[in-house]
Amino acid sequence: MDRFNRPRRGWVAVAAIMIGLLWGGTATAAEDQAKRPAPATAAQPEGQPSVQPPVQPKAPAAAKPLAPVIAPKKEAEGILGKQVYGVNGADMGLVTNVLVDRAGNPIAVVIDFGGFLGMGIRKIAIDWHLMRFHPGNKDKPVTLSLEKGQLKAAPTYDPDKPPRIVGTSAAPTPAKPATPPTAAQPAKSPTPTATKPSPPAAVTPPTPTPAPAAKDHPGK
């Protein structure tokens, strides 16, 4: 059985080289990730000067470094990839995206819903106002006042089409440039009712108004 000694030494050498190469080659990846620029909050719509830009405190013309504002401890938290819990702690899936309007206001959260070991997952956009966020709560950072059954027949979110959002009231979406900025728009939050027995209260038909831009930023 002499000849089997050679292969065995070969195994060890090849394995050592492979592990070494991969570990060494990726040592800087962590730093790259850390240095990645923060995502833009809202994609800028192009060539639409008629719409008044969102009023935002502008930085002074002189490029003065912004003083960092430290959020109160645990009061700000990322939600991408967080698990969403429904009524009774049901697993409603993972947050994969946030849809915002031109003013940068969040409109909906896209979740990866359902499935087993990654099979059978559907993307569903859910009205922002149905979501509750609990920064600092490790167990349930994001909750949703819906039951699984209420997502029956919910439309699949397709990034290439005007988003159809579950739970949005029939009223037009908040950001409608055509309407003059009348002072008091009716409170746009359709108070989430957890006890709603019927499937998704209202599913807005595709709105003709500008689609909220997806806050998507490629990984590289």
Binding site: R3, F4, P7, G10, W11, V14, A15, M18, I19, L22, G25, T26, A29, A30, D32, Q33, G78, L80, G81, K82, Q83, L94, T96, N97, D112, F113, G114, G115, F116, L117, G118, M119, G120, I121, R122, E147, K148, G149, L151, K152, A153, A154, T156, D158, P159, D216, H217, P218, G219, K220
Partner: protein, 402 residues
């Protein structure tokens, strides 16, 4: 050296190897997308990472086959491939950053393409071409048990612990697989002495192999099978999530497990049948069962009634899983280019799978899921007719004598 004892040990080693390889591979499935999502990856970068893996696996099929053909130490190839799997799984778990994940996807794609042919070649070396059918039936049985075990284990670990621990589990499971290779080392010497190895006889020219009409027809059939098959379950399970969201995950788990159970039960019989009656009829059965399944998916809407339809998946998966290494061995097993030929068929399968999900996605958008499923089913039925008319029987005369 007592040859019978060591051969029996090798038989058992091959069983265990198939079991754990299937176990480990479950961790590299669609679950990766879930894991990367929990790490805050955007959908764009997840899509990119998965495409990198798919492309790597497809591009390396044929070169990896050629590499496996170059050595008679198939057990070494299998061991290194499994070590590579362990490295990939650990990279996923420990360093989920873009560069690392892309590297791990590429490494996993290539080592899958070296592992498959080396296991097939060891099976061939163990039993010889005349008795390969029953042995492949046994391989398929242990693989499907491993798939089901892996899905159950990793589903539980992912649910109760974290999606990251799934990859630690996958890495840990490569070790029993590597241990199972130990008794298979004796096969290397056997393959070395076997007729058809390049040290004994020059391998046939690649052109002769590629121009073998039977191999091309079989590759086309394999491509058509995967084209019809790959998108079917994802489409159907998507609509299950839509129609029965409350229990969709349980239903989909049943959809995945049931065919595995069927494969585990019937595979040895299918292998015996291929041995005694021939391969062509099984190819036709695989495609026909797939076609009928597509039609039923299109016609039946209540998800609960679809569970029995998945029995058909078990039938076609068992036939197809055995036929790919078996028919290829019939045509190229003694040519010195068995792994290359497997790579060729694997490449055709890869094309079928990629085109399938893309085309089905576009079709489902335009004509809806039921019509898309109908189309896939009709394609499979047409392929069954094609196989019936064109595919020659490849079972050798020697086998009918044995």
């Amino acid at each position: 050296m007592n040859s019978t004892g060591s051969m029996r040990a090798a038989e058992r080693g091959l069983d265990v190897l198939n079991l754990f390889v299937a176990n480990v591979q479950t961790g590299f499935g669609p679950f990766i997308a879930v894991y990367l999502t929990t790490r805050g990856w955007t959908q764009t970068s997840i899509g990119l990472a998965l495409s990198v893996g798919t492309i790597a696996a497809m591009v390396s099929q044929i070169p990896a086959g050629a590499v496996v053909d170059m050595t008679y130490r198939k057990s070494l190839v299998a061991g290194v491939s499994l070590l590579a799997f362990a490295v990939c799984a650990l990279l996923f778990a420990v360093r989920p950053f873009p560069v690392t994940i892309y590297l791990a996807e590429i490494l996993h794609g290539f080592s899958s393409c070296t592992l498959g042919p080396s296991v097939a070649a060891m099976s061939l070396a163990l039993v010889g071409s005349a008795k390969l059918g029953p042995r492949l039936g046994r391989n398929a049985r242990f693989s499907s048990v491993g798939n089901a075990m892996g899905a159950a284990l990793m589903g539980a670990v992912g649910y109760y612990l974290s999606s990251r621990s799934v990859f630690f589990l996958a890495a840990a499971l490569t070790f029993p697989a590597i241990a199972a290779i130990w008794p298979l080392r004796a096969l290397d010497a056997r393959a070395h002495a076997a007729p058809g190895h390049r040290t004994n006889r020059r391998p046939i020219s690649i052109y002769r192999l590629v121009l073998d009409r039977r191999l091309l027809i079989f590759a086309v059939c394999a491509m058509l099978f995967t084209f019809s098959n790959a998108a079917m379950l994802p489409l159907a399970s998507g609509s299950i999530t839509e129609e029965m969201p409350s229990i969709a995950n349980l239903l989909i788990a049943a959809f995945i497990m049931l065919p595995q159970a069927v494969v585990a039960i019937i595979s040895p019989r299918i292998g015996d049948y291929a041995h005694s009656r021939g391969r062509r009829i099984l190819l036709v059965v695989a495609l026909a069962a797939l076609g009928i399944r597509g039609l039923l998916f299109a016609a039946v809407h209540a998800p609960v009634y679809l569970i029995p339809v998945q029995l058909l998946d078990g039938i076609s998966a068992a036939c197809f899983g055995i036929l790919v290494p078996l028919v290829t061995a019939d045509l190229a097993g003694q040519s010195g280019r068995y792994s290359f030929a497997l790579g060729l068929v694997g490449f055709a399968i890869g094309i079928g799978a990629t085109v399938s999900t893309t085309v089905a996605g576009v079709l489902a958008d335009h004509i809806g899921e039921p019509l898309t499923l109908l189309g896939l089913g009709v394609t499979a039925l047409a392929s069954a007719v094609f196989a019936w008319l064109v595919m020659p029987e490849t079972r050798s005369a020697a086998e009918s004598r044995s």
